[in-house]
Symmetry: none
Amino acid sequence: MDKLLEGYSRFRRDAWPHQRELYEQLADGQTPRLLVIACSDSRADPGQIFDVSPGELFVVRNVAALVPPYEQGEGLHGTSAAIEFAVQALGVKTILVMGHARCGGVRAAMDRSRWGTKSGAASQNLHFVNQWIDVLVPAVMALNTDDNEPCERAGVELSLANLMSFPFVAEKVEQGLLNLEGARFDIATGGLHLFNHARGWVRATPEPAA
Amino acid sequence: MDKLLEGYSRFRRDAWPHQRELYEQLADGQTPRLLVIACSDSRADPGQIFDVSPGELFVVRNVAALVPPYEQGEGLHGTSAAIEFAVQALGVKTILVMGHARCGGVRAAMDRSRWGTKSGAASQNLHFVNQWIDVLVPAVMALNTDDNEPCERAGVELSLANLMSFPFVAEKVEQGLLNLEGARFDIATGGLHLFNHARGWVRATPEPAA
Amino acid sequence: MDKLLEGYSRFRRDAWPHQRELYEQLADGQTPRLLVIACSDSRADPGQIFDVSPGELFVVRNVAALVPPYEQGEGLHGTSAAIEFAVQALGVKTILVMGHARCGGVRAAMDRSRWGTKSGAASQNLHFVNQWIDVLVPAVMALNTDDNEPCERAGVELSLANLMSFPFVAEKVEQGLLNLEGARFDIATGGLHLFNHARGWVRATPEPAA
Amino acid sequence: MDKLLEGYSRFRRDAWPHQRELYEQLADGQTPRLLVIACSDSRADPGQIFDVSPGELFVVRNVAALVPPYEQGEGLHGTSAAIEFAVQALGVKTILVMGHARCGGVRAAMDRSRWGTKSGAASQNLHFVNQWIDVLVPAVMALNTDDNEPCERAGVELSLANLMSFPFVAEKVEQGLLNLEGARFDIATGGLHLFNHARGWVRATPEPAA
């Protein structure tokens, strides 16, 4: 906690003087154009990777950057609530689902897609994680590979497809009012790959020499 | 999206050269000591406010920085999954719940806590948001005020109390292995207030001259 | 209905005289050794394809021969109930999941795995079918092919994996008391392919000249 | 499993040569006129009892040949999905619900309808079966008898009434486009009783000398 407060102190000393006016204006209300759904992982912070200013990104972070399928049942749907708020109340123009390399959540889905491991010892005390990550298991199982990368990509594609199962998302996409994009950040190299349905996966450019 | 890619370009040009080694090390695994549960709001990014380096914070962001009560039912519990992963798999030492001023989620709960407003026009198309934010309604209703600040504080306190309803959290807190903290960031002034159960609310220090 | 009664008449005239004693014995109780989970499709009747006698097969038939994942929530779980009854009360030794070529259910999952089709006109009046078949969508989407066969195989493999998510199934499989098998019947050729986790997919033998 | 493969071998040797052309035609698509909802019981196979050819019957088999009430909630509704597919996509003209004598599912409902028996030892490990079969308990309790037969009949009548709770079924029945029938097969004697709402229960004729 001390480390956090030291960081806050640096923020007040270094960043605040420059951003003071911006924060003062933002106090009247936020008007972000983008919703980013990213992983909770400490190594893949969308604010840092996209060097954003306060007020630019509405951000959801959960395990594996997952969008669950649309489901109107009882219960609390935190990710769906944030998507609904961003699309319906804030009117964001783009939703970016950003996965990343070495994702522990995708790895867990890969582990759980192996025969008989769902009842394995490793998963005994991760009840919530397992329910959550099992959304990815059928996709990962169908890929049948030990390579993380295609599974991480499939996770991003599945989340984008699940976004399209929300009627208020599909409607706006069809009207050209909302844009769905995917990305995968490679922690070791800093590289970024982008995905959308029309174009498939491509390497992000401009890509300065690393 | 172009704006995001420009930001990524800046990140690669400015930050990456300094952080390259750190990211390369982090590719082997993350060992964050803190879980921060923050709001999706574009104006309250914990990474910026605490000036953190990659690998330091495991971050959940949802509407209103909410921790729902422990509930083992069916369905997907994204926030609970992230808490479980951070505490049980990563072994974080501190959980910080950070609310903020001008929180639209808390405001929505205040609106919905007024007599008869649950069926109001404003909430017609926000099914998921309403289910989610109703967790706050009893607290907000009890405060019976039009002032956001006490409601935003109550939200942080309620989330901390809900954290204690998770058996694996309560156990570690009681053993002194896990520390629960709250905070509220004031967008307009950049100020930060801190809360924990022993000490109540205090202004964060060091607080350099703004 | 008349056609059915004519069939019943043939059954009484032709089959009953031979099977009378067997049916009389079976009236005391059934002791089937096999549970077959097959598709409701009119062209893939396991009783005919395996030329079984009364009393041999406990049979579940549903759309696409699907086993949903284990889920202890509220609500009626017809397939799970039949699996539980067969394994726990009847003590079957083998569970066979049999898919088939030209499966309309798998085809529907393939259609629904295409971008944006979840809200398409074709699926407007098939609420229950869509919820049911969406179990297959992530697997089918990951395969990303227009060829039915790999999707039909993936459906069988997913159902077998879902069977392993039932604790009482996994336990008996691990103790060697229960055997999980898959199959895919090719309507046009009458061919049969078999699957299990140890051996993968093989063509059924003996396979007499067609 | 060996026994199944021997049966498949007989099917290929004996039945296939005669049905080959039929199966080849059916590969283009199924057009069954009937949906049969039957019990999973190994002794009551509708394909055998009605001596049907491939392509004639779309078949659902579950514990006790049960149709649950119409319920649009979340979750997977396998039987409802199959009914919807048969009625809405295939356009079947008749739905037959076929119960049978000595039905273990109905017996379980009878056991559970006795005062205090819901917590009985026998039902400890049958979580899914109990939830499923409890649909029958109110009817069985009302009959208050130890005789299986009226309970088995009541089960068929209840499933037919539940079918009428599906809007797309009721509408077609009212338009004369869909016909609902019931039956009960007597395992020990091979006899068949028929039910519909207009006529009540009658013995099936023609009934050749047994």
